[in-house]
Symmetry: C2
Subunit: 233 residues, 2 copies
DNA sequence: GCAAAAGTGTTATCCCTACACCCATGA
DNA sequence: TCATGGGTGTAGGGATAACACTTTTGC
């Protein structure tokens, strides 16, 4: 038996007995830059939402793990790799993408700001950091994803050591406190913060001092277990 | 231009220029029955994993919202509807389903045990409740889903009022305490529990008493905002 | 010497924990 | 009257929150 197909259908060579949605991953990458919580966005060069900004992300390769997809898309679109990544939520409203049905498995990620030079140095990809309180209009439902990611991040500061993922290898206690203050958006008491953070037993002095201006030098600290996020409480 | 297709390909009428995974939802429904935390499983009548037990769930209809899919599958396979449902995690290991690439967006749900009569009364669907510490071998990666759901449930008892979703409309404080004890798997102090739960300001006395044996009758309570899960702390 | 950030302790308060006895009922 | 679960308060300990001054440096 033989049947005929138009050339348009010929291009579509992956066929299923029932309709299948497309699956993407999108990643909300946070960092702290210029004393602000910032998020990495990419500029869309193609429709839909051409010219708007969006989260980095893209279609899942068949046979590729979800988290691997998120890491690959992040690397391809922004040059960033090797950072802390965690699944956030899966968005699947039927009309969230005008092209076809798309399910987006979203992740959020944190990176120290000193890793960003790599990205800036890479070729002129249309990626940029935006302060969370100054976002451009976003493609798809990405604003919703960002709002959820921000809430999750702030909540997780309270019961885990996730904030260390923002820190470079070595840092001062004041720098660390500033990170907490920026993410939580409130001032913290210096003495209480130091007592608390040291009691967590997650950081140690390097013995070095950092001189940075006309004031007393600060002791430099480092993580005891780099790259581990511990649940506290 | 014309091309030829086999009849097998003809059956596959939904075609895409790139391969698409299938998307399913799976739901871990918890209840408390016979003083035990139990989970609802369905018996698989068809391959793969024919004859094994699995979480209720199934393929997403194109155009259907993810949560709607979870509710529909739950209703179709077990007769349960109108219960508390929350997204859990999305599983997508490339080989988790032998048929094709399947992404499963999982949910967990809680229901009072007095709603279950409906299901038992419905036609002889192969659905049954299993104690969490006595599960049969499960299809796919469903054991992993259940482990995660259980962890999330126990954690959420500590910072939300999710446990009320296990309760019938009215209940005594002892019944409520027993629910907490079963899920957390530890005894709680009666006086401390009562102080704590009343301080949450989520329940109120109905004024009724429940007589249930040769002992003093218990005061009956009800939720102030039925069906709302509040974040506490 | 002065401006600027680093560093340091004590006290009060709140919350959680531990703990034991009387009450109301049915049999 | 007795067995059974329902119902109640207080005291101690630990964690959190409030609060101000001295130190070290660069200019």
């Amino acid at each position: 038996m033989k049947f005929t197909l138009s050339s348009k259908q010929l291009a579509a060579q992956y066929c299923y007995p029932y309709p299948h949605p497309a699956v993407t991953t999108d990643i909300a990458v946070f960092t702290i830059l210029d004393q602000q919580l910032k998020l990495l966005l990419v500029h869309r060069g193609a429709p839909p939402f051409q010219g708007m900004w969006a989260l980095p992300g893209g279609f899942l390769d068949i046979g590729e793990d979800l988290e691997a997809c998120a890491k690959r898309e992040l690397e391809e679109e922004t040059g960033i790799s090797g950072i802390y990544l965690e699944q956030l939520y899966t968005f699947g409203a039927p009309d969230r993408d005008p092209r076809e049905r798309v399910i987006s498995v979203t992740y959020y990620a944190l990176t120290p700001s000193d890793r960003l030079q790599l990205k800036a140095a890479s070729d002129a990809m249309d990626a940029a950091w935006f302060a969370l309180d100054n976002m451009p209009p976003l493609a798809f439902d990405h604003q919703e994803i960002i709002t959820l990611a921000h809430r999750r991040l702030a909540a997780k500061l309270g019961y885990s050591t996730i904030a260390f993922q923002f820190m470079p290898e070595t840092f001062t206690l004041s720098e660390l406190q500033t990170v907490y203050e920026i993410v939580l958006n409130k001032k913290l008491d210096k003495r209480n913060f130091r007592k608390w953070i040291l009691a967590l037993d997650q950081i140690e002095e390097t013995g070095e001092l950092r001189r940075s201006g006309n004031h007393r030098p600060a002791r430099i600290y480092q993580l005891k277990n780099p790259a581990r996020v511990e649940i506290i409480k």
